[in-house]
Amino acid sequence: MANTIIKFNGVEKRYGDTVSLKKIDFELEQGKFYTLLGPSGCGKTTILRILAGFTDASAGTVTFKGKRINDLPANQRKINTVFQDYALFPHLNVYDNVAFGLVLKKTTKTVIKQKVSEALRLVRLSGYAEREINELSGGQQQRVAIARAIVNEPEVLLLDEPLSALDAKLRTAMQVELRQLQQRLGITFLFVTHDQGEALAMSDEIFVMNNGEILQQGSPVAIYDEPINHFVANFIGESNIVKGKMVADHQVEFVHQCFECVDAGMRPNEPVEVVLRPEDLDLTSVDQGNLVVTVDTQVFRGSIYGIMSHDHAGNHWLIHSVHQSTVGRQVGIYFEPEDIHVMRYGESEAEFDARLEQYEGEADEKI
């Protein structure tokens, strides 16, 4: 990659006996929006801290524009951070907090003034320059923290759950603002969240993490449509996951029935897991459906109904439908072969990619 700005190579982090990060490898390209997504305690903040220089990697190298920066102190890295706990300076008011980095760089007063007010406008806090930090709400403090980081226009911006304290409306507005800012200034963003909706909406690339490992990396669409394992499928969006068997290429068996699918490249009769997204399932009559289920509960979610049901083998199925159904009624569910996604047990991302390339190549030859 020509414009790789940051590279992690076999980075590990141990605290005494506990391992927080196991061999992390990734590359960030200049000007893209990346998201680290994972449950609490999986090591997201640790990755940011290593990248910003607040803590050392126990092993591995971190490079910035091709240069190893493991030993470069934090104050010399062209990286700024929005901290998870905001870390605003309590003895300074909003203006002086935001101006902090610029003052240290000996920027002229007029430029500072103009940049600070621009940054405050961006985070919708224009009238608040003279406020003390302890006179702000949690969400306002969080936005001051964002302003304090972006005002320096760093090459890489690390954001540790920067929108977690905001209400839904402000959150969406700030998501749009941040995305626009990132695209306008061409800054590389590394954004941490455990909100999968936020990750899908904002990112160019998502890293899904668990237990100190990156499980899968890809565009939001790729990760949503082709999760490599149970954890990713469950963590990103809602899904129905059932056990099945790969009878042959493009033939998968689950709930004692055989279905046509688009996946291939596995051993004959290999046990697999099958993912079907609730929005890909259509309600129909019993004789037109691929599967027959009984409706258990039904929840109205605003634009759709969430219908929980079970089949005769005891699997639960969540269906998203614009039409209402009746609790206790038998209905059919219908899906296309493309809606079925097959996951192998214990397959790594590299193996998954290799297999995908292989059978897609075969498919092209046939045509």
């Binding site: 801290r49 910003a52 220089g53 607040f54 102190p73 934090a74 104050n75 990286i79 700024n80 951070t81 901290f83 706990d85 870390a87 605003l88 300076f89 309590p90 003895h91 300074l92 008011n93 902090f100 980095g101 240290l104 760089k105 009238g127 003279e130 406020r131 003390e132 304090r148 980081a149 320096n152």
Partner: protein, 275 residues
């Protein structure tokens, strides 16, 4: 019922304060006595104050005492602040705890022992007793107080504040001067005032290390009281009491000053914006 409880609590407070302040006010009252004893109040007069201001030896001693207190607390604050920063930085738990214990032992050990050990120390090295020996020992026993006032403030400070300053490009010195010092400044100020008062009224340690020719106030008053107390001491006590009041008011105003100033500036600004 509510009124009743309120009433009793206040009575209790009044009682305690009366008990605490009665001896002091008794002393102050007799400083205005025309007579020379503390048993009969004959009439009002300033004569003991006049005596006090004519007593150049006493005035000199008051000035020396203040000078010692100012210098000792200033130097102790500087050394103690650096000491607190060092203890805060120490990562190994056992080392940190030992340093803290060493600090606390000095706090709790009796003044007499500290004074005696200073005397032995100074005479062993042939150090001449006088202003310098008093100053040094006052600095020494004030440092642990300053450390103890500053450490809790430091521990309150989140590590991420330092990280954030570094992140925004601050050098180590800038982190200290722009983030750490402002954050712990209330502790530094409190430590300074504590050290000042400790130095001002120390008797036991000073008694050991003054030597001939140099006195502080407490040692001098002690010496005079042994010969039968003169009401000149009462006059001095009154003035010292007023001085302490002013000191406390000053401390209070100083701690309020910064926030009030900034708040006022903001209110003015916001008032200007609003029609």
């Amino acid at each position: 019922m509510k009124m009743h409880g309120w009433h009793w609590r206040h009575l209790y407070l009044i009682f305690v304060f009366a008990l605490l302040y009665a001896p002091i006010f008794y002393l102050l009252f007799y400083s205005f006595n025309q007579g020379t004893t503390m048993t009969h109040f004959i009439g009002f007069s300033w004569r003991h104050y006049a005596e006090l201001f004519a007593d150049t030896r006493m005035i000199q001693i008051v000035l020396d005492t203040l000078l010692i207190a100012l210098l000792a607390s200033l130097l102790a604050t500087i050394i103690g602040t650096l000491g607190a920063l060092v203890i805060y930085q120490v990562k190994r738990i056992w080392l940190k705890n030992s340093l803290l214990s060493l600090n606390n032992i000095l706090m709790v050990s009796p003044d007499v022992i500290i004074g005696a050990s200073f005397l032995i120390f100074f005479t062993f090295f042939g150090f001449k007793l006088g202003f310098n020996s008093v100053l040094l020992s006052h600095i020494a026993f004030s440092i642990p107080i300053v450390v103890l006032m500053i450490l809790p403030r430091l521990n309150e400070m989140r590590q991420s504040l330092v990280d954030a300053a570094m992140d925004l490009g601050a050098t180590n010195w800038q982190v200290l001067s722009r983030v750490v010092f402002p954050f712990i400044s209330p502790g530094i100020l409190a430590g300074y005032f504590m050290a000042f008062t400790y130095s001002l009224d120390d008797f036991a340690v000073t008694f050991f290390v003054t030597g001939n020719g140099f006195e502080t106030l407490s040692v001098e008053i002690y010496a005079r009281a042994r010969q039968g107390i003169s009401l000149e001491v009462n006059a001095l006590s009154t003035l010292m009491f007023l001085f302490a009041l002013i000191l406390i008011a000053g401390y209070y105003l100083l701690t309020r000053y910064t926030t009030t100033k900034r708040r006022q500036r903001r209110y003015q600004l916001e008032a200007k914006i609003k029609p």
